[in-house]
């Protein structure tokens, strides 16, 4: 009896990925909503009320840190997809990169705004030009640049390639953001979570992980929805689209 092997490469075709993505969306969207609610509950009602140095505004951490991580992770993912789309001439890879960009930009913006709202009571300033904040602002500009560049080029495949160059070149910024607090004198707090330890109260740790999980699931769901829209917009002429339901 021969073993049936799944041909995963068939999902590299937009026509095959489209229905798969459609089935996956609720599997990510619903748990995302649940985790957001649970994370907020743990962060506000289970985590310790306050500590000697920080005041209640420390609770911004439960959205600021996950958003910052998402901004960085999504940029790397975007650069990877764009690179694959560019190197292998894989349309769907480029479409995924285009789909990820707005979500990554939104999370980076959230991290900048929540960081500013945290900085005002904690440091007394809305903004400082230190290494981490500045490099995160650069990340924001890279996202905006990627989106603007792609939308300014009419030929879709040329837009994909141009965006891929920007995404891949810009990815060096992500380790700069991460290591900035070690390499330079920074007002921003150093790394609490390292490979060796996670110096945080257990309930805070739980809330943080739950919120990071919520942000990941949300991002995947939203990017799958967006890539389906992109597929439909780009493949308008394709027979498989006009034959299937709207």
């Amino acid at each position: 009896m021969t073993k049936q092997r799944i041909n995963w490469y068939k999902y590299a075709a937009p026509a095959n990925f489209y229905p798969l993505a459609g089935k996956l969306i609720p599997l990510f969207a619903i748990p995302a909503a649940v985790l957001f609610v649970w994370g907020m509950y743990v962060g506000f009602f289970v985590a310790p009320p306050t500590d000697a140095q920080q005041h209640e505004y420390y609770r911004i951490i439960y959205i600021h840190v996950p958003a910052a991580w998402m901004g960085m992770f999504l940029y790397v993912l975007m650069a990877l997809y764009a690179g694959v789309g560019w190197a292998f001439n894989a349309r769907l890879g480029s479409m995924m990169a285009t789909a990820i960009a707005p979500t990554g930009a939104i999370f980076t913006f959230i991290s900048l705004v929540t960081g500013s709202l945290w900085g005002r009571p904690a440091w007394g300033v809305w903004w400082v030009w230190d290494a981490r904040l500045t490099s995160t602002l650069i990340l924001m500009f890279l996202y905006i640049g990627f989106i603007s560049l792609q939308s300014s080029i009419d030929d879709v495949r040329r837009a994909d390639r141009a965006g891929a160059v920007l995404a891949v070149v810009g990815v060096i910024n992500v380790p700069i953001i991460y290591f900035s607090v070690q390499w330079w004198n920074s007002l921003h707090q150093g790394a609490t979570i390292t490979a060796r330890s996670f110096k945080m109260a257990p309930a805070m740790r739980s809330a943080m992980f739950i919120m990071v999980g919520a942000c990941w699931l949300y991002s995947i769901a939203v990017c799958l929805v967006r890539v389906r829209h992109i597929i439909r917009e780009r493949e308008q002429e394709a027979p498989w689209l006009s034959e299937s339901a709207a």
């Binding site: 505004y57 709202l117 829209h229 709207a246």
Partner: protein
């Protein structure tokens, strides 16, 4: 929030607005795609008075 409510609720409020806004924009984009694919069926208009919809 010990007097820091503006900062905490402001942070979560901005987040909520942006994430809900993202979902709404995606929903709007889906409607535009459907409308462009089937202008008569999707919006109930006839071909005579269907106007051009910009790309989202």
């Amino acid at each position: 929030m010990g007097g820091f409510g503006l900062y905490v609720w402001g942070s979560y409020g901005v987040t909520l607005v942006l994430l809900v806004g993202e979902v709404l924009l995606l929903w709007k984009r889906k409607r535009n795609i459907a409308r462009r694919a089937n202008p008569e069926i999707a919006s109930g208009e006839t071909q005579l008075n269907t106007s051009f919809q910009g790309i989202q």
